[in-house]
Symmetry: C2
Subunit: 372 residues, 2 copies
């Protein structure tokens, strides 16, 4: 697929303009834009401007409440529960993580959970907010049910990502992972390429492992049995019950603690989303000298990167390294936008009379990008 | 393998007697025994009386310090750091989790980290301590390095288990999982049976995926390159980088926060263990009505168990269910002890003049147990 690259700053202005046209304040538009474009900078295009249409669709269907008034419904020194009132996910999530960080700075730990929310972009954005201010940050969210439990065939759990961040040099530790073997986007890539999927990614309507991405994807779209497998794959041979358990732990921290919708209820109807998030911040200064702890982590991560490589491998990465390297590349060489996303952005711009051309500034020649 | 079953109460007396002979107080012997026999009750025989020899060996080699004086080296309202002084893992860990629970009951959250410790048995014992008192409990530990990072071939990380517990009916939620695709014990089972291991469990000295359990196990024993793969297997196709990241997160919560040994240094010499643990307790009453939260979790777990089964599968389990069912079975029908463990116990009893026969009370006829 041809994927062109465009200037970051101009795309930022474009996204700001679009969210303002969708009805958001300058402040909220700026917040949402920063989350989306951080995903693009990190190289997680699936969660960047590629999602613009999803937010517009959410507003059109009533899944997202433009005039939402999120409120804190319970608060203690260390914790809070927020009812997001079906608001777009990003601004409430930034506020929730900020609350959690304030609590951590004052008392050592903060845990803020959010219910009745909508898609908040990449989980790693919020855990990184904490890391940037010298805290250990953890973010979780449940999602629409796409994942079948071990030995089951009905998708009951979301891809339920967990992100964990901690400051380190030269790269922070930033783990941002779904608890499923793959996110749904990977099925879509294989559908586009007309390639079978590896056995162990998903199951069909009978709960049998399938190599047909269309079959698995259709199960999800039609909300019939079948779906993606938990991290560790089918059964217990490769630890599928562990990924299933981690997805359940995310469900506890998000839906169960907040009293919100569990994944099996999220997006069950076109006009309902109601997912739940958790934002945890820990001031690791309560355990020792912060500079020493950061240095110790940095040294351990360096040891891993320096460790012996497997035959045929050139590098051992640590989590967060690729995101930082991608950001440097995208800032210099532009954000990657594929044809489909470009068309979606064009449609939105047309609808809201946004002069797209003004904001679409190519940075270099077109690239064939092999975005596995 | 022939595995006989013996009366639980008598084995408890036997274990108590042995730890007293090894030099422990009644209180400590009782604590260690309870952790070991809980593993046997749960059906996790690899971490039950099968480990008796390991503790004796630890004392013999000086890895475990019989006269250790664990002490709190830093404490805040929500947190503590304990230097275990190379004590046997269980009593310090029970004290650490108790401290964490006291903090949670008073302030909402407690996080206690421990360094310079030794093998503490099953992580789930300590998370269950919290759940039994109406708290959400999390336990982590690093271990000797057995696991290679993604694209690496040098074992740099432990199997680094995470246990998470929360009260629910009729079974608590109890996830107790290593962050590797399998624990080392699974290699040993395949060696005994002279069976190849599934491709994706481990790599050889070159970092190539191997189906030879002897080859992978020897890499670990000789501390040369090669070892077990993280949850998700080799490379990134099935999410191996996620298991690697989770193992790193455990390393952060245990070794980095406590300033103790990272897994690459644990048990590096025969007379050194020095692993690190983390014990977290959260009073979920800070988020809402505890009875309501417990009921909501119980209902969601029941929904999962009731969900449609994959073709050929008879049940969808939730985590903690098997442990409770096994406990009921073992209490009634006896604890399973295999021949090798029986021989080890005989040797220890001979050395310390413990009248083994008195404590070894068979419960039923010998069974052939297929302990996959």
């Amino acid at each position: 697929m041809v994927e062109k690259r465009y200037n970051y700053e101009s795309l930022k202005e474009l996204s700001l303009m679009i969210f303002q046209k969708l009805g958001y304040s300058n402040e909220d538009s700026s917040c949402i834009t920063d989350v989306l474009l951080t995903a693009d900078l990190f190289g997680i295009e699936s969660h960047g401007l590629q999602r613009l249409w999803l937010y517009q669709y959410g507003l059109d269907t009533g899944r997202i409440n433009l005039n939402a008034k999120p409120r804190v419904i319970k608060e203690t020194k260390l914790s809070a529960v927020i009812d997001a009132d079906d608001a777009i996910g990003h601004p409430t999530s930034v506020k929730a993580m900020s609350m959690s960080m304030d609590k951590a700075k004052t008392f050592g730990v903060g845990i803020v959970v959010v219910k009745n929310s909508t898609h908040f972009g990449i989980a790693g954005y919020y855990s990184q907010m904490a890391a940037k201010e010298g805290l250990l940050g953890i973010t979780m969210t449940n999602t629409e049910a796409l994942v079948v439990p071990t030995y089951g065939k009905r998708a009951m759990l979301g891809t339920n990502p967990i992100a964990i961040s901690m400051p380190a040099k030269p790269y922070p530790f930033l783990l941002d992972m779904s608890t499923s073997v793959v996110p749904r986007g990977k099925l879509e890539v294989h559908i586009k390429r007309e390639q079978p999927i590896p056995l162990g990614w998903g199951v069909n309507e009978e709960g049998e492992v399938s190599d047909n991405p269309n079959e698995v994807n259709e199960c999800i779209s039609k909300k019939i049995c079948g779906g993606i497998l938990p991290l560790g794959g089918a059964g217990e041979t490769f630890g599928g019950h562990k990924g299933y358990g981690l997805a359940l732990a995310v469900e506890i921290f998000t839906a169960i603690l907040s009293g919100g919708y569990t994944s099996d209820l999220v997006r069950k109807r076109q006009n309902v989303e109601k997912c739940c998030h958790a934002f945890i911040a820990i001031d690791y200064g309560i355990f020792g000298d912060k500079k020493y702890i950061e240095k110790y982590l940095s040294e351990f991560l360096q040891k891993l990167r320096d460790s012996e490589k497997a035959k045929g491998a050139s590098r051992v990465y640590t989590h967060g390294e690729k995101e930082i390297l991608n950001s440097v590349d995208r800032m210099k060489n532009g954000i990657i936008i594929n044809e489909k996303t470009l068309k979606e952005i064009k449609d939105i711009c047309k609808r809201y009379n946004v002069p797209l051309r003004k904001y679409l500034i190519p940075v270099q020649n077109d690239l064939y990008v092999d975005n596995r």
